[in-house]
Amino acid sequence: MSYYLGLLQLIGVHTLLGLSAYVLMLTGQLSLGQAGFFAIGAYSAGILTVIFELPILPALLAGALIAAFFAFLVGFPALRVKGLMLVVATIAFSEFVRLFFFNLSWRVPRGDIHVGPDSTNGFREIRYFVANGWSAWEITTFVWIFVILVMAALWWMDRSRAGAVLRAVGEDELAAQSAGINLTAVKVTAMTAGGFIAGIGGALYAHTATYVDHLTFTVLLATFAISYPILGGLSSVFGTLVAVIFIQGVLVEGLRFLGDWRNIVFGLLIIAAMNLKPSGLFDARTTLLLRRSVGLGGRE
């Protein structure tokens, strides 16, 4: 059972990572910097529970707020750049964060050992959950409470005026601006919200994995972050969840029986999926079909 629960935790954490990129994508911003905010959340929350011995909840919220703060700061210069420029700028940001943690060594004595981030050697002993006797069930529930909260918040936002505003900016900035939408406010808010969500994800990740080092937060992780919403589609938050299950559940774990071929098939299936469903696995059509099949109706 612990395997499935562990997998559920991983899916939960990655859903948060994907949703953090989803929020930005709604406003038309493609960011490969989410791994950076994820790292900030992971290290900050880890430092708070390990070095300052805070309970998990305040540590997690603080980690998310710190990540959100940095996202807020990144939001302003990011306004100046679009498209590929933004992609590269955010890759650079996230690599910068990674290199910062690669250089960070902050060790304090605890009993007969030292704990804390230790540059290349990584940040070990983030064992808040197991050391406090949390069962795998409890950890999984804890993770999913946040996933559900974030998904619900985004889902609700999407139905409200805020969602329409975000999407308007994503569709056509000029038109949105002439309709009286404050681009700066919208984009910076989206960036900050994305940072906050990635921060929660990172904080949860560090505590479920018990160990992080700078190599956890490479461009590859940032790539996964944007992969989820693209693969899942931007029509709703569920797309991201579906994509995380598709990648982490099916491609990474489910295809283990393929042995050596698993990773080769991995790339091919992504190519196939994008050619067959360029607007995402969970695009508007699928949504409609699903709504119909569960009797919610819905118009063509």
């Binding site: 420029m85 590269v88 590859l220 992969s227 693969l231 990773n263 991995f266 091919l268």
Partner: protein, 298 residues
């Protein structure tokens, strides 16, 4: 005075080495910029495909002991072919205005190509042939690597070749037409898909040269290089200005040279942070790149 002279030689040598090595970054940057210029899309597979081309060349070296020049040629051809396949698999059938899907498909292709390489070689580093590998030209107190000189010569030659194709042939005219005014080009009877495919092949050929030159400059080839080369290529593309070929050339040399200076003064742990800061400086103060390219940023 002696000390000063010694420092001076050290620093100039450091910059020189970096500039020469930067030629390989320039080539990768040109490839990214070319495809972006033509399609306004990001092809994440590019660096991986370039190195995969070099691996095909290496196979010729390993199995039939082909001479270095032939290896380079095969690398270029193979990478050109891979470019075509990537175009068909990741761009051709995906709606033109769907940038995200094409980007994602190219990420899938990146994983695929990288994993094929890893599976065939077990990820082991492999000797890559070079021309003039252990030749060291000595000019006073300075030394100049013969193989890097060759790399630079090949880079210049292939860039000139590329520019010739772009500005002096019908094919190039079509490519530029599509890149500047897609709809108008279509109305003039230019086959957009075919032109785009040609751009991918051209960029691929150049990428193969870049991959082979990078491998030859190190003397060893490993799949470890893919991601750093992708990131560096993107940085060079942006510093040079999107779509600007001369910009990519200068930016590649600039990044190569400065990287070595940062390494010399601040050590390897901080080196890449300064390169990233350099990029931030450009993004804030010269968002259009070194030559302020005419292409819109989006």
């Amino acid at each position: 005075m002696g000390d000063f002279w010694f420092e001076f030689v050290e620093i100039t040598q450091t910059i020189g080495d970096g500039l020469f090595f930067g030629a390989t970054y320039s080539l990768i940057g040109i490839g990214f910029t070319l495809i972006f210029g033509a399609m306004h899309k990001l092809n994440m597979t590019y660096a991986a495909a370039s190195l995969a081309g070099a691996y095909v060349g290496l196979a010729a070296f390993t199995f039939v002991n082909a001479p270095a020049l032939v290896v380079f040629l095969i690398s270029a051809l193979a990478s050109g072919l891979i470019g075509l396949v990537v175009y068909v698999a990741c761009f051709r059938f995906i709606p033109v205005n769907n940038h995200l899907a094409a980007l994602m498909a190219s990420i899938g292709a990146l994983f695929f190509i990288d994993e094929i390489v890893v599976h065939t070689t077990d990820g082991s580093p492999l000797t890559f042939p070079a021309m003039f590998e252990y030749v060291m030209l000595e000019v006073g107190p300075w030394g100049l690597r013969g193989d890097l000189l060759f790399v630079l010569a090949v880079s210049v030659a292939s860039t000139v070749g590329l520019l010739y194709v772009l500005y002096r042939s019908r094919l190039g005219l079509a490519t530029r037409a599509v890149s500047q005014q897609d709809v108008a080009a279509r109305l003039c009877g230019i086959d957009v898909h075919r032109t785009n495919a040609t751009t991918f092949v051209l960029a691929g050929l150049l990428g193969g040269v870049a991959g082979a030159m990078t491998a030859a400059a190190v003397g060893v080839l490993s799949p470890l290089v893919t991601v750093p080369l992708t990131v560096k290529g993107l940085i060079v593309t942006v510093i040079g200005g999107l779509g600007s070929i001369p910009g990519a050339i200068v930016a590649g040399l600039l990044v190569g040279g400065l990287e070595n200076v940062f390494l010399y003064f601040r050590g390897v742990n901080e080196r890449d942070m300064y390169v990233l800061l350099l990029l931030f400086v450009f993004l804030v103060f010269r968002p259009h790149g070194i030559f302020g390219s005419a292409i819109d940023r989006d």
